[in-house]
């Protein structure tokens, strides 16, 4: 499948992926994340069940302290 991840086109062998699996494949190991799929917020307790499909627009924001 092809998705847009953080404004960039990316291809994956799998036809669907859960958010947990996507984070693992991309090696996103950060704890403090905000994830949006097609503009909708996906909460942490849905990461194991939420399925990303071909054409989805996924935004992963990694939050760090400082300001």
């Amino acid at each position: 499948m092809n998705i847009v991840l953080n404004n960039r086109e990316e291809s994956f062998e799998q036809s669907t992926l859960t958010i947990t699996r996507l984070l693992h494949i991309k090696n996103f190991t950060f704890k403090m994340l905000v994830i949006k799929v097609n503009g909708q917020l996906v909460k942490k307790d849905e990461y194991n069940s939420y399925v990303i499909k071909d054409g989805d627009d996924v935004n992963v924001l990694h939050l760090i302290s400082g300001g």
């Binding site: 953080n6 404004n7 403090m32 994340l33 905000v34 949006k36 503009g39 909708q40 917020l41 909460k43 935004n59 924001l61 990694h62 939050l63 760090i64 302290s65 400082g66 300001g67």
Partner: protein
């Protein structure tokens, strides 16, 4: 556009500033200098000596409430700005009420969990409001890593990688770079 035209346009707009530390104080001052109409500023903290390495406060303001000290400093620069202050800790229940009327909201917290709270609250409760987030500005040097990235109505300003720590503290130059990148992004959103 001439400066007069820019100021004439900006006076019709309100910007929200969530947090009055290094990002919020510097960003608010930049917006006040160019003539933003109104600022809504919230913070619960007081000015301490350790803030003076990056935040827009003066030594004789140590001990004052940040929102009151910042209002005083902004009015000394531009008395035409309307300033609404809230000496309060922002949370998911008061945030959307305080910033409802803003045309754009600047996220200027220090802690990652507060940034997360603001972004999630805005996505669910203020979905159409432009939110300008400051993310990653610790240390010094590495100027070219500071960037602007847009994700729908969320604008991310910073290097997105440098987290503050004991040995990588936030310092005036990079903090003010990100604060002014946020202010510049606010102008870009408002002067369309």
């Amino acid at each position: 556009m001439t400066f007069e035209e820019i100021r004439e346009r900006l006076k019709n707009f309100t910007a929200g500033i969530a947090g009055a530390g290094g990002l919020g104080s510097n960003c608010a001052v930049a917006l006040a200098r160019v003539g933003i109409g109104k600022l809504i500023i919230a913070d619960f903290d007081i000015v301490s000596e350790s803030n003076l390495n990056r935040q827009y406060y003066f030594r004789d303001q140590v001990g004052m409430k940040k929102v009151e000290a910042l209002k005083e400093n902004i009015l000394r620069i531009n008395p035409d700005v309307e300033i609404e202050i809230h000496d309060i800790k922002l949370n998911q229940s008061n945030l959307s009420t305080i910033y409802k009327e803003c045309h754009v909201l600047v996220e200027a917290f220090d802690l990652a969990e507060m940034k997360k709270m603001l972004i999630e609250t805005c996505i669910s409760e203020l979905p159409d409001k432009p939110v300008v987030v400051g993310l990653g500005m610790a240390g010094w040097g590495d100027s070219n890593s500071i960037h602007l990235r847009k994700s729908e109505n969320i604008y991310i300003c910073g290097d997105e990688k440098s987290e503050i720590s004991e040995i990588n503290p936030p310092l005036a130059p990079r903090v003010a770079m990100v604060a002014n990148l946020q202010a510049n992004t606010v102008l870009e959103i408002l002067i369309k």
